[in-house]
């Protein structure tokens, strides 16, 4: 960070039992799942569109993107709003866990691997006392030209 502290803040969230982190600067806001309108004929990872204060925002299902199985939406689900160029894009996650301050130095890069998932989606891994946090590469996740899942 520019303010002299060398620390980063991470928003931690979960998909199933895996813990992920997004650098908090990359998120604009975190929303409950209100009304998602499904978009038929869209890529499978597009969960739908939502109304974010008058703006139509595409919501990406991180579960699908990372090849986790389907799961019905419940109260715990949250949508992280991130910026992609001029556009706001939502990322649907299972549950928000915490916001933690970490030392970016201790992020291990290149070791993040989840079975069956393209490791491009991850920036690295961070060890916390009791768990491992996979740092998400938001730009890569938001990229729309992902080759179709076969």
């Amino acid at each position: 960070m520019e303010n002299g502290y060398n620390n980063q803040e991470l928003a931690l969230f979960r998909i199933d039992d895996d813990c992920f982190g997004i650098e908090i600067n990359q998120i604009q806001e975190i929303n409950r799942v209100v009304a998602l309108t499904p978009v038929f004929n869209s890529s499978a990872y597009v969960k739908g569109v939502m109304n974010l204060r008058g703006q139509i925002v595409t919501v990406i299902d991180l579960r699908t993107k990372l090849r986790y199985g389907a799961r019905p939406i419940d109260d715990a689900n949250r949508i992280l709003i991130a910026r992609m160029g001029d556009e706001s894009v939502g990322i649907l996650v299972d549950q928000i866990e915490d916001i933690v301050e970490i030392d970016p130095q201790s992020i291990e890069t290149g070791t993040a691997r989840i079975e069956g998932v393209n490791s491009e989606f991850f920036n690295g891994i961070y060890k916390m006392e009791n768990k491992l946090v996979v740092i998400l590469n938001v730009d890569r996740v938001l990229q729309e030209d992902e080759p179709r899942a076969a």
């Binding site: 038929f40 869209s42 890529s43 109304n51």
Partner: protein, 1021 residues
């Protein structure tokens, strides 16, 4: 640069662009009007002068140099020392282009200005000789009373009369003083200076215009308007040093009245410039560049870019009104908040009503700020017309009408290019050369009229030329060459439809696109681009007289009245512009939905309308079914059950169907939805990048309940489903099939087919079960067989040239299947075209073209037509199939009879007779064929009837052969002959025939068949 400076710069650039547009118009006007109108020159001079002033102030030196030179040239013209001929005007037009280019990018130093400056200098030098004799070079204003025009002292120029002490002035300005110059008549000078002393300090005076007038330089802390009021002078006569680039100052320059007294009571005879007064009323509202409305034509030309408005002018009254409404809105919100707090339901209702009113008004007002006169686009066509017609050596007069008609800014931005293309086209291809026009008895000068008008909530723009018109046959030839239409289709097309072919995507022709009208953009692109903004285009032409192109546009795009429909609980919006009608089909009317191939069609007022189930369309995306994806995106198929029942027409529906009939351009189709929800005005919002390639959506909107809803892209869905193609198929096939259906039972009718070019075939209609039109690619090869998947079943397809000597089926993207039953299954013969249904011809030549599968030939519609036997053809190709047929029938307990007969006439006669008796009849054309049929399936037949005289193997030989084969010991054989001589009967009996009959004697044939079959049954028993 600080903000202020930046702001000034953008104001200047904006304003200068407008000035240049006007200059251009005036130049074109001068070029076409003789003698040169003086007022036009003055207007041009003023505009250029204003730009010069601004450029100087902002330190844009390049601009200043050019404008200065131009001003010099114009000044000569103004003094009538220089004639503005076409050459000079062309140079001046080039100057405006260059200035525009500079204004587009003032920082760009690479723009080449030298040649223009040189050109201007040349003009000046040519004239300098004359000049030196007559008058000294005019950097000094030389003004006399008799020439009020020369009195124009531009406000900035007023300062040039003084040797200003810049440091002092800067200091004064820093202290808050404004520096003014007032131009007064000599006789009131003293009175004025006295007043000036009261409000400020006199700095200097300078006499001008032969001492008739004086310029008074002074400083004061008062604003300009106050100063004007206090001194009692005309605002134009007072220049303020700092506002040389502001609107106020421009007004001063433009109105340029002769200043002979402080009251300015003798206005010079200057024409009103409309903008001059407007400038005082309007303010410039900056707008975000509209990135979503991407410029469809990708114009790279600077000229074109100028219509992409970055800022628009809005009437101050309108702004005031908006401000008021915003105030109202705030008040209403307060009211609502308050009332909600106390939960006063009544008051809340009232506030809600008020909110409704205010919002509607606000919406309307804001929309009207976006409304721009179409003249913004149309005015530049003067220049375009001039340039293009000069280049082509044609003489064209452009007439504009309805320039005041207003359209939404986004539409204005998008019609520029299509219109440009149409005008270029009209000049290039429409208007003839002067000689040709003279020969045709027309005025040598062609006329192109662009007329805009309101019509029923739309704006209609007509582009009319009085040129040569369009040759529809040329269009047709091109369309045929490109494969846009086929010959049969083309023959049915009306003249108008033929013309419309030029709008078909992919029509643009290299031959038609010249450098001028081309730019790689054809009429099809014009049409596509217009339809993208909800517009339509129509064309009408009269050969030799001219062409009229009619463009219809919606007034606005941002807010769209729409129909809301729902499918599986989700709402979708269908823009009302696309809406044609709503049709409700009750379950009893379900037979109105029919199937042609896999495509559903609805019979509406006698015509077939393709329909789609919105549910099916939405689920058709292959990606939604990716494994692991959430199934919530998949709507259960309503036609699940159907995939089993296949495609049986007239399928029953248990619930009422809502069919929304929509129009994609001229093409109509139906969308079947679950329910019609509401009609609402929606605000169109763009979809995100992830959904950009997602077909079927035109955008999204937010409904009253706050949910996002998708807007259906009516033309897009049409394209995605290839509905237009389907409709064509359905309607062509429908015509013939209906003819065929109505003729069913009438065995005398023949269906005429075409396969290879000029090869026609006739098929007895009675044998045909139905006809399908398919894409050629649907015919697949499986092993050595051809099949077509038809619903859930597979149909074998045969080609005529597999069986008979004929050319192979014409290469085409579609084919017709003539489907008929054989042996309990359906098979099809593929042909390239259906031609007609005719009465069976009386004269059949059964010898010339005789071959297996061909019964004979006849002349039908002056074409030699081969009469074919579908069954024989199929059998010839695949004997198994032919043998399979009787076997299936025998199991049905019907006995099978083989008729071995070479005469078509008797084949028909006998098969008619025998099938009338309830037998299955197979035909073999000669003894050889009869033997082959029997040999391959010895037990299939219960009886054989045969002719004696036959090619290849006659009846006697066949009978002997049968009798020598013990498989056929029990097979009764009846010999038939037209000659029943004793000797013949003996020969037949010798050969082993059971009966010997005269063919014509039906009764005898019948009795013998019955008797012999009865005998053989008993023998088996």
């Amino acid at each position: 640069m600080d903000n202020n400076q930046n702001n000034r710069l953008s104001l200047f650039l904006e304003d200068s662009r407008e000035q240049l547009d006007r200059v251009e118009q005036y130049l074109v006007q001068i070029d076409t009007t003789q003698p040169t109108p003086e007022t036009s020159i003055n207007e041009i001079f003023r505009a250029i002068h204003t730009i010069k002033g601004g450029a100087d102030f902002l330190g844009l030196d390049v601009l200043k140099t050019i404008t200065h030179r131009t001003e010099d040239v114009l000044d000569l013209a103004r003094k009538q020392e220089l004639v503005l001929d076409t050459t000079v005007i062309s140079i001046l037009l080039e100057v405006t282009d260059l200035l525009k280019a500079i204004l587009q990018d003032p920082e760009n130093a690479s723009i080449d200005t030298d040649h223009i400056v040189a050109a201007l200098n040349t003009i000046l030098e040519q004239d300098s000789a004359a000049e030196t004799i007559e008058e000294p070079v005019q950097t000094e204003p030389h003004v006399t009373f008799e020439e009020p025009v020369a009195e124009n002292i531009a406000p900035k120029d007023r300062f040039e009369y003084f040797n200003l002490d810049e440091t002092a002035i800067t200091e004064w300005e820093a202290q808050g003083f404004c520096i003014y110059i007032c131009q007064v008549a000599e006789e009131v000078r003293e009175e004025l200076t006295a007043r000036i002393e009261e409000i400020g300090y006199l700095i200097e005076e300078e006499q001008i215009n032969n001492h008739q007038e004086t310029l008074v330089l002074f400083r004061s802390v008062l604003s300009k308007s106050l100063t004007v009021r206090y001194l009692g002078v005309e605002p134009d006569n007072l220049s303020r040093r700092l506002d040389r680039n502001s609107g106020e100052e421009k007004t001063a320059e433009r109105t340029l009245q002769a200043v002979r007294s402080p009251a300015g009571d003798i206005p010079a005879p200057q024409p009103e410039v409309p903008e001059a007064t407007e400038t005082q009323k309007v303010q410039t509202v900056e707008e975000e560049p509209d990135s979503e409305k991407a410029y469809v034509m990708n114009a790279t030309n600077n000229q074109e870019d100028s219509t992409a408005l970055n800022s628009i002018r809005v009437n101050v009254n309108l702004l005031d009104n908006l401000m008021n409404l915003a105030g109202e809105l705030v008040l209403t919100r307060n009211q609502l908040n308050q009332n909600v707090e106390h939960w006063d339901e009544n008051a809340i209702n009232l506030a809600a009503q008020r909110l409704d009113t205010v919002t509607s008004e606000l919406q309307e007002s804001i929309m009207s700020t976006r409304m721009q006169p179409i003249s913004i686009v149309l005015s530049r066509f003067h220049r375009l017309t001039r340039d293009v017609s000069h280049k082509l050596g044609k003489s064209v007069n452009l007439v504009l009408e309805g320039e005041e008609v207003e359209l939404d800014k986004s539409i204005i931005e998008n019609i520029g290019d299509p219109l440009t293309h149409l005008v270029r086209n009209a000049i290039d291809h429409g208007i003839e050369s002067p000689e040709k026009r003279r020969q045709a008895g027309k005025n040598e000068t062609g006329t192109i009229a662009i007329k805009a008008r309101h019509e029923a909530g739309h704006v209609v723009i007509d582009v009319i030329d009085d040129g040569n018109g369009i040759d529809s046959q040329k269009i047709l030839a091109e369309a045929l060459r490109k494969g846009i239409v086929d010959r049969t289709r083309a023959d049915e097309m009306s003249e108008r439809e033929l013309l419309r072919l030029i709008f078909t995507p992919g029509f643009s022709t290299a031959t038609e696109l010249t450098d001028l009208s081309g730019r790689g953009v054809g009429m099809d692109v014009v049409s596509t681009n217009l339809s993208r903004i909800g517009g339509t285009i129509d064309i009408d032409t009269q050969p030799g007289k001219g062409t009229q192109i009619k463009i219809k546009l919606p007034l606005t795009l941002a807010i769209v009245p729409s129909l809301l429909v729902s499918v599986s609980e989700e709402n979708f919006a269908i823009p009302q512009v696309n809406l044609v009608e709503l049709v409700r089909l009750s379950p009893e009317q379900s037979q109105k939905i029919e199937y042609v191939g896999d495509a559903a069609v609805m019979r509406l007022r006698g015509k077939l309308l393709p329909v789609i189930w919105l549910k099916d369309f939405l689920n058709s995306g292959d990606e939604a079914s990716v494994p692991g994806s959430d199934t919530s995106n998949v709507i259960p198929l309503r036609r699940e059950a159907e995939s089993e029942s296949g495609d049986s027409p007239g399928q029953e529906f248990t619930e009422t169907l809502n069919v929304v009939v929509v129009a994609a351009g001229d093409f109509h189709y139906g969308i079947i939805v679950d329910a019609l929800t509401d009609s609402e005005e929606i605000v169109v919002k763009p979809l995100g990048a992830h959904l950009r390639n997602c077909r079927g959506y035109a955008g999204a909107t937010i409904l009253g309940d706050g949910r996002a809803s998708l807007i259906l892209d009516v033309p897009g869905i049409c394209d995605a489903c290839q509905l237009q193609q389907q409709a064509e198929i359905a309607n062509t096939a429908d015509d013939l099939m209906r003819k065929a259906e109505s003729g069913s039972g009438d065995e005398e009718k023949l269906l005429v087919l075409q396969n290879a070019e000029s090869e026609y075939f006739g098929v007895q209609l009675a044998f045909i079960k139905r006809i399908e039109r398919i894409r050629s690619s649907q015919i697949q090869r499986v092993g050595n067989k051809r099949v077509v998947k038809y619903g859930s079943s597979v149909i074998r397809v045969f080609e005529l040239n597999e069986a008979i000597e004929t050319g192979s089926r014409e290469e085409s993207d579609h084919a017709y299947l003539v489907i008929f039953p054989i042996g309990g299954q359906e098979v099809a013969i593929a042909v390239s075209n259906l031609v007609d249904i005719v009465e069976a011809p009386e004269a059949v030549d059964s010898s010339t073209f005789r071959q297996p599968g061909v019964q004979g030939s006849a002349i039908i519609s002056e074409q030699i037509t081969l009469l074919i036997d579908l069954f024989a053809i199929v059998r010839a190709i695949d004997p198994d199939l032919g043998d399979y047929a009787p076997a299936a029938k025998t199991s049905d307990s019907a006995e099978s009879i083989l008729v071995v007969e070479d005469s078509v006439f008797f084949q028909d006669k006998l098969s008619e007779l025998l099938s009338g008796m309830g037998y299955d009849v197979m035909i073999a054309e000669d003894g050889q064929a009869g033997w082959e049929t029997l040999d391959t399936n010895a037990s299939a037949f219960d009886l054989v009837l045969m002719d004696i005289e036959m090619p290849r193997m006659d009846g006697l030989q066949l009978t002997k052969k049968l009798r020598s084969d013990n498989r056929f010991d029990e097979l009764p054989v009846i010999m038939l002959t037209s000659l029943a001589k004793e000797s013949d009967i003996e020969r037949g009996k010798d050969a082993g025939a059971d009966e010997y009959l005269v063919k014509m004697d039906e009764e005898m044939v019948r009795k013998s068949v019955l008797r012999l079959l009865d005998q053989s049954h008993q023998a088996v028993a």
